[in-house]
Protein backbone atom coordinates (compact mmCIF):
# COMPACT_ATOMS: atom_id res chain seq x y z
CA UNK A 1 0.00 0.00 0.00
CA UNK A 2 2.78 2.39 0.98
CA UNK A 3 4.76 1.61 -2.17
CA UNK A 4 1.67 2.27 -4.29
CA UNK A 5 1.20 5.66 -2.64
CA UNK A 6 4.85 6.49 -3.21
CA UNK A 7 4.51 5.61 -6.88
CA UNK A 8 1.45 7.80 -7.22
CA UNK A 9 3.22 10.70 -5.51
CA UNK A 10 6.31 10.22 -7.69
CA UNK A 11 4.22 10.21 -10.85
CA UNK A 12 2.43 13.37 -9.77
CA UNK A 13 5.75 15.07 -9.09
CA UNK A 14 7.03 14.14 -12.54
CA UNK A 15 3.87 15.55 -14.13
CA UNK A 16 4.17 18.78 -12.15
CA UNK A 17 7.86 19.14 -12.92
CA UNK A 18 7.21 18.59 -16.62
CA UNK A 19 4.47 21.19 -16.62
CA UNK A 20 6.63 23.67 -14.73
CA UNK A 21 9.54 23.28 -17.11
CA UNK A 22 7.34 23.65 -20.16
CA UNK A 23 5.92 20.68 -21.96
CA UNK A 24 5.66 22.48 -25.32
CA UNK A 25 9.02 21.29 -26.62
CA UNK A 26 10.00 24.86 -27.49
CA UNK A 27 13.42 25.89 -26.23
CA UNK A 28 13.69 28.53 -23.54
CA UNK A 29 15.73 30.71 -25.91
CA UNK A 30 13.03 30.60 -28.56
CA UNK A 31 10.31 31.29 -26.05
CA UNK A 32 12.24 34.23 -24.64
CA UNK A 33 12.96 35.70 -28.10
CA UNK A 34 9.32 35.26 -29.08
CA UNK A 35 8.12 37.02 -25.93
CA UNK A 36 10.62 39.86 -26.45
CA UNK A 37 9.57 40.38 -30.07
CA UNK A 38 5.89 40.45 -29.18
CA UNK A 39 6.49 42.92 -26.36
CA UNK A 40 8.65 45.12 -28.60
CA UNK A 41 5.93 45.17 -31.26
CA UNK A 42 3.29 46.24 -28.76
CA UNK A 43 5.55 48.93 -27.29
CA UNK A 44 6.43 50.25 -30.75
CA UNK A 45 2.82 50.85 -31.72
CA UNK A 46 2.09 52.23 -28.27
CA UNK A 47 4.77 54.90 -28.50
CA UNK A 48 4.43 55.92 -32.17
CA UNK A 49 1.73 57.39 -34.37
CA UNK A 50 1.20 56.47 -38.00
CA UNK A 51 -0.17 58.27 -41.02
CA UNK A 52 -2.30 55.29 -42.06
CA UNK A 53 -3.86 52.21 -40.51
CA UNK A 54 -1.86 50.10 -42.94
CA UNK A 55 1.42 51.61 -41.76
CA UNK A 56 0.50 50.88 -38.15
CA UNK A 57 -0.40 47.27 -38.83
CA UNK A 58 2.59 46.60 -41.09
CA UNK A 59 4.94 47.99 -38.45
CA UNK A 60 3.31 45.84 -35.78
CA UNK A 61 3.63 42.67 -37.86
CA UNK A 62 7.24 43.41 -38.83
CA UNK A 63 8.26 44.04 -35.22
CA UNK A 64 6.79 40.68 -34.18
CA UNK A 65 9.46 38.80 -36.10
CA UNK A 66 11.70 36.75 -33.83
CA UNK A 67 14.85 35.06 -35.08
CA UNK A 68 13.86 31.55 -33.99
CA UNK A 69 13.24 28.23 -35.76
CA UNK A 70 10.02 28.19 -37.76
CA UNK A 71 8.73 25.16 -35.90
CA UNK A 72 9.12 26.99 -32.57
CA UNK A 73 7.48 30.10 -33.99
CA UNK A 74 4.55 28.04 -35.26
CA UNK A 75 4.11 26.28 -31.94
CA UNK A 76 4.30 29.49 -29.93
CA UNK A 77 1.79 31.18 -32.25
CA UNK A 78 -0.56 28.26 -31.76
CA UNK A 79 -0.16 28.57 -28.01
CA UNK A 80 -1.23 32.20 -28.23
CA UNK A 81 -4.12 31.30 -30.50
CA UNK A 82 -5.21 28.80 -27.87
CA UNK A 83 -5.06 31.52 -25.21
CA UNK A 84 -2.08 30.14 -23.30
CA UNK A 85 -2.31 32.20 -20.11
CA UNK A 86 1.31 31.64 -19.06
CA UNK A 87 2.76 32.77 -22.40
CA UNK A 88 0.36 35.71 -22.55
CA UNK A 89 1.37 36.64 -19.03
CA UNK A 90 5.05 36.64 -19.96
CA UNK A 91 4.38 38.99 -22.87
CA UNK A 92 2.29 41.28 -20.69
CA UNK A 93 5.05 41.38 -18.08
CA UNK A 94 7.64 42.19 -20.75
CA UNK A 95 5.46 45.00 -22.11
CA UNK A 96 5.10 46.39 -18.61
CA UNK A 97 8.87 46.35 -18.14
CA UNK A 98 9.59 47.98 -21.52
CA UNK A 99 6.95 50.65 -21.87
CA UNK A 100 4.76 50.61 -18.77
Amino acid sequence: MRIRCQLVVSAAMVVLATAACGSSGVSEDSRSAFVDARADALCTVKTHSYATQTQLEETYLAEQHADIPQSDEKQLREMLDDGDAALNGEITAAVSTRCG
Binding site: K46, A51, Q53, Y60, G83, A86, I91, T92
Partner: protein, 302 residues
Protein backbone atom coordinates in the same frame (compact mmCIF):
# COMPACT_ATOMS: atom_id res chain seq x y z
CA UNK B 1 11.95 6.11 1.49
CA UNK B 2 11.75 5.49 5.25
CA UNK B 3 12.91 2.25 6.77
CA UNK B 4 10.80 0.54 9.42
CA UNK B 5 13.31 1.72 12.02
CA UNK B 6 13.11 5.30 10.81
CA UNK B 7 9.33 5.17 10.85
CA UNK B 8 9.34 3.91 14.44
CA UNK B 9 11.64 6.77 15.46
CA UNK B 10 9.30 9.34 13.99
CA UNK B 11 6.32 7.77 15.69
CA UNK B 12 8.17 7.82 19.02
CA UNK B 13 9.02 11.50 18.67
CA UNK B 14 5.43 12.35 17.80
CA UNK B 15 4.11 10.41 20.82
CA UNK B 16 6.56 12.10 23.21
CA UNK B 17 5.64 15.54 21.80
CA UNK B 18 1.93 14.88 22.25
CA UNK B 19 2.47 13.52 25.75
CA UNK B 20 4.43 16.62 26.64
CA UNK B 21 1.85 19.01 25.25
CA UNK B 22 -1.42 17.26 25.97
CA UNK B 23 -2.80 18.63 29.23
CA UNK B 24 -4.42 15.29 30.04
CA UNK B 25 -0.97 13.76 30.45
CA UNK B 26 0.37 16.36 32.85
CA UNK B 27 1.19 14.88 36.19
CA UNK B 28 2.23 17.82 38.29
CA UNK B 29 0.24 20.93 39.14
CA UNK B 30 3.34 23.14 39.07
CA UNK B 31 3.78 22.89 35.33
CA UNK B 32 0.10 22.58 34.41
CA UNK B 33 -0.48 26.19 33.42
CA UNK B 34 2.74 26.42 31.40
CA UNK B 35 2.01 23.23 29.48
CA UNK B 36 -1.58 24.26 28.74
CA UNK B 37 -0.27 27.55 27.37
CA UNK B 38 2.28 25.72 25.22
CA UNK B 39 -0.40 23.33 23.93
CA UNK B 40 -2.68 26.10 22.68
CA UNK B 41 0.24 28.21 21.44
CA UNK B 42 1.32 25.31 19.24
CA UNK B 43 -2.19 24.99 17.80
CA UNK B 44 -2.38 28.74 17.04
CA UNK B 45 1.10 28.77 15.51
CA UNK B 46 0.17 25.87 13.23
CA UNK B 47 -2.95 27.69 12.09
CA UNK B 48 -0.97 30.87 11.36
CA UNK B 49 1.65 28.96 9.38
CA UNK B 50 -1.09 27.22 7.39
CA UNK B 51 -2.89 30.45 6.48
CA UNK B 52 0.27 32.41 5.66
CA UNK B 53 1.79 29.62 3.63
CA UNK B 54 -1.24 28.72 1.56
CA UNK B 55 -0.75 31.41 -1.12
CA UNK B 56 2.84 30.25 -1.68
CA UNK B 57 1.72 26.63 -1.98
CA UNK B 58 -0.79 27.51 -4.70
CA UNK B 59 1.59 29.93 -6.37
CA UNK B 60 -0.05 33.30 -5.85
CA UNK B 61 1.12 36.35 -3.97
CA UNK B 62 -1.07 38.15 -1.44
CA UNK B 63 -1.72 40.91 -3.97
CA UNK B 64 -2.98 38.30 -6.43
CA UNK B 65 -5.42 36.88 -3.97
CA UNK B 66 -8.06 39.35 -5.11
CA UNK B 67 -7.79 39.51 -8.93
CA UNK B 68 -8.83 42.64 -10.79
CA UNK B 69 -12.36 42.65 -12.08
CA UNK B 70 -12.01 43.58 -15.70
CA UNK B 71 -9.30 44.43 -18.17
CA UNK B 72 -6.87 47.32 -17.72
CA UNK B 73 -6.02 50.23 -19.99
CA UNK B 74 -2.23 50.55 -19.78
CA UNK B 75 -1.99 53.66 -21.97
CA UNK B 76 -2.31 56.97 -20.18
CA UNK B 77 -0.78 59.27 -22.81
CA UNK B 78 -0.70 58.82 -26.56
CA UNK B 79 2.24 60.00 -28.72
CA UNK B 80 2.43 63.77 -29.10
CA UNK B 81 0.81 65.38 -32.14
CA UNK B 82 0.56 68.78 -33.84
CA UNK B 83 -2.49 70.99 -34.33
CA UNK B 84 -4.35 69.79 -37.42
CA UNK B 85 -2.47 66.49 -37.58
CA UNK B 86 -4.24 63.22 -38.33
CA UNK B 87 -2.64 60.00 -37.06
CA UNK B 88 -3.38 56.42 -36.11
CA UNK B 89 -2.55 55.67 -32.49
CA UNK B 90 -2.83 52.59 -30.30
CA UNK B 91 -4.37 52.05 -26.87
CA UNK B 92 -2.91 49.05 -25.01
CA UNK B 93 -5.06 46.83 -22.82
CA UNK B 94 -4.04 43.97 -20.55
CA UNK B 95 -6.26 41.15 -19.38
CA UNK B 96 -6.84 39.64 -16.00
CA UNK B 97 -7.31 35.98 -15.14
CA UNK B 98 -10.63 36.06 -16.98
CA UNK B 99 -10.94 36.45 -20.72
CA UNK B 100 -12.93 39.35 -22.17
CA UNK B 101 -15.12 38.91 -25.26
CA UNK B 102 -16.87 41.31 -27.65
CA UNK B 103 -14.57 44.23 -26.84
CA UNK B 104 -15.68 47.52 -28.38
CA UNK B 105 -13.95 50.86 -27.91
CA UNK B 106 -15.45 54.23 -28.77
CA UNK B 107 -13.99 57.67 -28.09
CA UNK B 108 -14.97 61.31 -27.99
CA UNK B 109 -13.05 64.54 -27.53
CA UNK B 110 -13.68 68.25 -27.67
CA UNK B 111 -10.17 68.84 -29.00
CA UNK B 112 -10.04 66.14 -31.65
CA UNK B 113 -12.09 64.14 -34.12
CA UNK B 114 -12.01 60.38 -33.67
CA UNK B 115 -12.63 57.71 -36.26
CA UNK B 116 -12.19 53.96 -36.38
CA UNK B 117 -10.74 51.17 -38.51
CA UNK B 118 -12.56 50.55 -41.76
CA UNK B 119 -13.59 47.00 -40.89
CA UNK B 120 -15.49 48.03 -37.76
CA UNK B 121 -16.37 51.61 -38.79
CA UNK B 122 -18.24 52.71 -35.66
CA UNK B 123 -15.88 51.36 -33.00
CA UNK B 124 -12.44 49.88 -32.54
CA UNK B 125 -11.51 46.46 -31.20
CA UNK B 126 -8.35 44.51 -30.55
CA UNK B 127 -5.91 43.87 -33.36
CA UNK B 128 -6.06 40.09 -32.97
CA UNK B 129 -9.81 39.69 -32.46
CA UNK B 130 -12.58 41.02 -30.25
CA UNK B 131 -11.39 38.75 -27.41
CA UNK B 132 -8.60 39.44 -24.94
CA UNK B 133 -7.35 36.12 -23.54
CA UNK B 134 -6.37 35.54 -19.94
CA UNK B 135 -3.34 37.69 -18.99
CA UNK B 136 -2.89 38.87 -22.59
CA UNK B 137 -2.02 42.36 -23.88
CA UNK B 138 -3.35 43.69 -27.17
CA UNK B 139 -4.03 47.08 -28.74
CA UNK B 140 -7.05 48.87 -30.14
CA UNK B 141 -6.28 51.56 -32.72
CA UNK B 142 -7.94 54.93 -33.16
CA UNK B 143 -7.64 57.57 -35.86
CA UNK B 144 -7.21 60.94 -34.20
CA UNK B 145 -7.33 64.33 -35.88
CA UNK B 146 -6.30 67.17 -33.59
CA UNK B 147 -8.37 70.32 -34.11
CA UNK B 148 -6.58 73.15 -35.90
CA UNK B 149 -6.91 75.64 -33.05
CA UNK B 150 -5.66 73.38 -30.24
CA UNK B 151 -2.64 74.66 -28.34
CA UNK B 152 -2.43 72.34 -25.31
CA UNK B 153 -2.99 68.74 -24.24
CA UNK B 154 -6.13 67.08 -25.59
CA UNK B 155 -8.17 64.65 -23.49
CA UNK B 156 -9.85 61.71 -25.21
CA UNK B 157 -12.73 60.04 -23.41
CA UNK B 158 -12.86 56.30 -23.98
CA UNK B 159 -15.80 53.98 -23.48
CA UNK B 160 -14.94 50.29 -23.47
CA UNK B 161 -17.61 47.60 -23.39
CA UNK B 162 -16.94 43.87 -23.18
CA UNK B 163 -18.20 40.62 -21.68
CA UNK B 164 -16.00 39.31 -18.89
CA UNK B 165 -16.05 35.53 -18.71
CA UNK B 166 -16.81 33.95 -15.38
CA UNK B 167 -16.27 30.36 -16.52
CA UNK B 168 -14.25 28.64 -19.19
CA UNK B 169 -15.92 26.61 -21.87
CA UNK B 170 -19.06 27.21 -23.85
CA UNK B 171 -21.13 28.54 -20.98
CA UNK B 172 -18.87 31.35 -19.82
CA UNK B 173 -21.68 33.08 -17.89
CA UNK B 174 -20.26 36.49 -18.88
CA UNK B 175 -20.62 39.71 -16.98
CA UNK B 176 -21.22 42.72 -19.28
CA UNK B 177 -18.79 45.50 -18.44
CA UNK B 178 -18.66 49.17 -19.38
CA UNK B 179 -15.67 51.29 -18.47
CA UNK B 180 -15.24 55.02 -18.99
CA UNK B 181 -11.58 56.02 -19.15
CA UNK B 182 -9.38 58.81 -20.44
CA UNK B 183 -6.12 59.18 -22.31
CA UNK B 184 -4.33 62.39 -23.18
CA UNK B 185 -2.55 63.60 -26.31
CA UNK B 186 0.24 66.14 -25.80
CA UNK B 187 -0.07 68.74 -28.55
CA UNK B 188 3.02 70.61 -29.73
CA UNK B 189 2.38 73.89 -31.51
CA UNK B 190 4.43 74.58 -34.64
CA UNK B 191 6.21 77.85 -35.28
CA UNK B 192 7.56 79.13 -38.58
CA UNK B 193 6.37 78.43 -42.11
CA UNK B 194 3.24 76.46 -42.96
CA UNK B 195 5.08 74.32 -45.49
CA UNK B 196 8.32 72.44 -44.94
CA UNK B 197 10.49 72.17 -48.03
CA UNK B 198 12.40 68.90 -48.36
CA UNK B 199 14.06 69.48 -51.75
CA UNK B 200 17.16 71.64 -51.80
CA UNK B 201 18.59 70.60 -55.18
CA UNK B 202 16.92 69.41 -58.37
CA UNK B 203 17.99 66.74 -60.80
CA UNK B 204 20.90 67.93 -62.93
CA UNK B 205 20.19 68.62 -66.61
CA UNK B 206 22.56 68.59 -69.58
CA UNK B 207 22.62 71.54 -71.96
CA UNK B 208 20.13 71.11 -74.75
CA UNK B 209 17.97 68.63 -72.81
CA UNK B 210 15.14 68.57 -70.30
CA UNK B 211 14.07 66.67 -67.13
CA UNK B 212 11.03 66.38 -64.90
CA UNK B 213 11.64 67.57 -61.36
CA UNK B 214 10.00 66.58 -58.05
CA UNK B 215 9.78 69.32 -55.45
CA UNK B 216 8.98 67.64 -52.08
CA UNK B 217 7.04 69.43 -49.35
CA UNK B 218 5.62 68.55 -45.92
CA UNK B 219 2.69 70.20 -44.18
CA UNK B 220 3.65 71.92 -40.94
CA UNK B 221 0.53 73.89 -40.11
CA UNK B 222 -3.15 73.31 -40.89
CA UNK B 223 -4.86 75.24 -43.65
CA UNK B 224 -2.58 74.50 -46.59
CA UNK B 225 -5.35 74.08 -49.16
CA UNK B 226 -5.35 74.52 -52.94
CA UNK B 227 -1.57 74.45 -53.02
CA UNK B 228 0.04 75.37 -56.33
CA UNK B 229 3.55 76.44 -57.28
CA UNK B 230 5.26 78.43 -60.00
CA UNK B 231 8.99 78.40 -60.69
CA UNK B 232 11.21 81.27 -61.79
CA UNK B 233 14.44 80.25 -63.51
CA UNK B 234 17.47 82.08 -64.98
CA UNK B 235 17.57 82.91 -68.68
CA UNK B 236 17.98 79.86 -70.90
CA UNK B 237 16.15 77.55 -68.49
CA UNK B 238 12.48 77.04 -69.33
CA UNK B 239 9.92 75.69 -66.86
CA UNK B 240 6.79 73.81 -67.96
CA UNK B 241 3.98 72.40 -65.85
CA UNK B 242 1.92 69.20 -66.14
CA UNK B 243 -0.90 69.18 -68.70
CA UNK B 244 0.43 72.39 -70.19
CA UNK B 245 -0.82 74.21 -67.11
CA UNK B 246 0.34 77.48 -65.63
CA UNK B 247 1.39 76.05 -62.27
CA UNK B 248 2.31 72.79 -60.56
CA UNK B 249 -0.07 71.03 -58.13
CA UNK B 250 0.40 68.36 -55.49
CA UNK B 251 0.50 64.80 -56.79
CA UNK B 252 -2.04 63.32 -54.37
CA UNK B 253 -4.40 66.06 -53.22
CA UNK B 254 -4.77 69.81 -53.44
CA UNK B 255 -4.54 69.99 -49.64
CA UNK B 256 -1.28 69.37 -47.81
CA UNK B 257 -2.24 67.90 -44.42
CA UNK B 258 -0.11 68.42 -41.33
CA UNK B 259 2.83 66.01 -41.16
CA UNK B 260 2.13 64.55 -44.57
CA UNK B 261 4.59 64.75 -47.47
CA UNK B 262 3.79 65.20 -51.13
CA UNK B 263 5.52 66.69 -54.18
CA UNK B 264 4.94 69.19 -56.98
CA UNK B 265 6.19 68.26 -60.45
CA UNK B 266 7.51 70.52 -63.20
CA UNK B 267 9.82 70.19 -66.19
CA UNK B 268 13.03 72.11 -66.72
CA UNK B 269 14.47 72.49 -70.22
CA UNK B 270 17.98 73.89 -70.67
CA UNK B 271 19.03 75.56 -73.92
CA UNK B 272 22.43 75.06 -75.57
CA UNK B 273 23.41 78.59 -74.65
CA UNK B 274 23.49 77.95 -70.89
CA UNK B 275 26.96 77.47 -69.50
CA UNK B 276 27.60 74.47 -67.25
CA UNK B 277 27.30 75.28 -63.55
CA UNK B 278 24.88 75.53 -60.64
CA UNK B 279 21.81 77.76 -60.96
CA UNK B 280 19.19 78.82 -58.43
CA UNK B 281 15.48 78.52 -59.16
CA UNK B 282 12.81 80.23 -57.05
CA UNK B 283 9.67 78.25 -56.24
CA UNK B 284 6.66 80.30 -55.18
CA UNK B 285 3.95 78.29 -53.43
CA UNK B 286 0.46 79.73 -53.15
CA UNK B 287 -2.25 78.27 -50.94
CA UNK B 288 -5.37 78.98 -48.91
CA UNK B 289 -6.75 82.44 -49.41
CA UNK B 290 -3.73 84.11 -50.97
CA UNK B 291 -0.89 83.02 -48.66
CA UNK B 292 2.47 82.62 -50.36
CA UNK B 293 5.77 81.01 -49.42
CA UNK B 294 9.00 80.96 -51.43
CA UNK B 295 11.92 78.58 -51.54
CA UNK B 296 15.17 78.48 -53.50
CA UNK B 297 16.52 75.28 -55.01
CA UNK B 298 19.68 74.69 -57.00
CA UNK B 299 20.03 72.87 -60.29
CA UNK B 300 23.26 71.82 -61.95
CA UNK B 301 23.61 72.20 -65.70
CA UNK B 302 26.20 69.92 -67.26
Amino acid sequence: MLSARGTRSLVTVRVHWQVFLNPRTIATDQCRMLRVALFWASKIAAAVVLVAGLPFVVGVSPSDAAPREGITLTTSALPSMHPGQTAWVSTLWSGTNKAADNFKLTATSTGATISYPTNTATYSSFYGSSTLSNNATDFAALKVRINDNVTSTVTINLTATYDLRNNNGNNSNPTPKTENLQVTVPVQAVSGASIGVNTTSLTSVARGSEAWQHFSVTGRKPGVTNLTATVAAPAGITVDYPADGTSAGLSQSSTLDVDTTDFLAFKTAVSDSVAPGSYNLTVTMSHGSGEQQQATVSMVVT
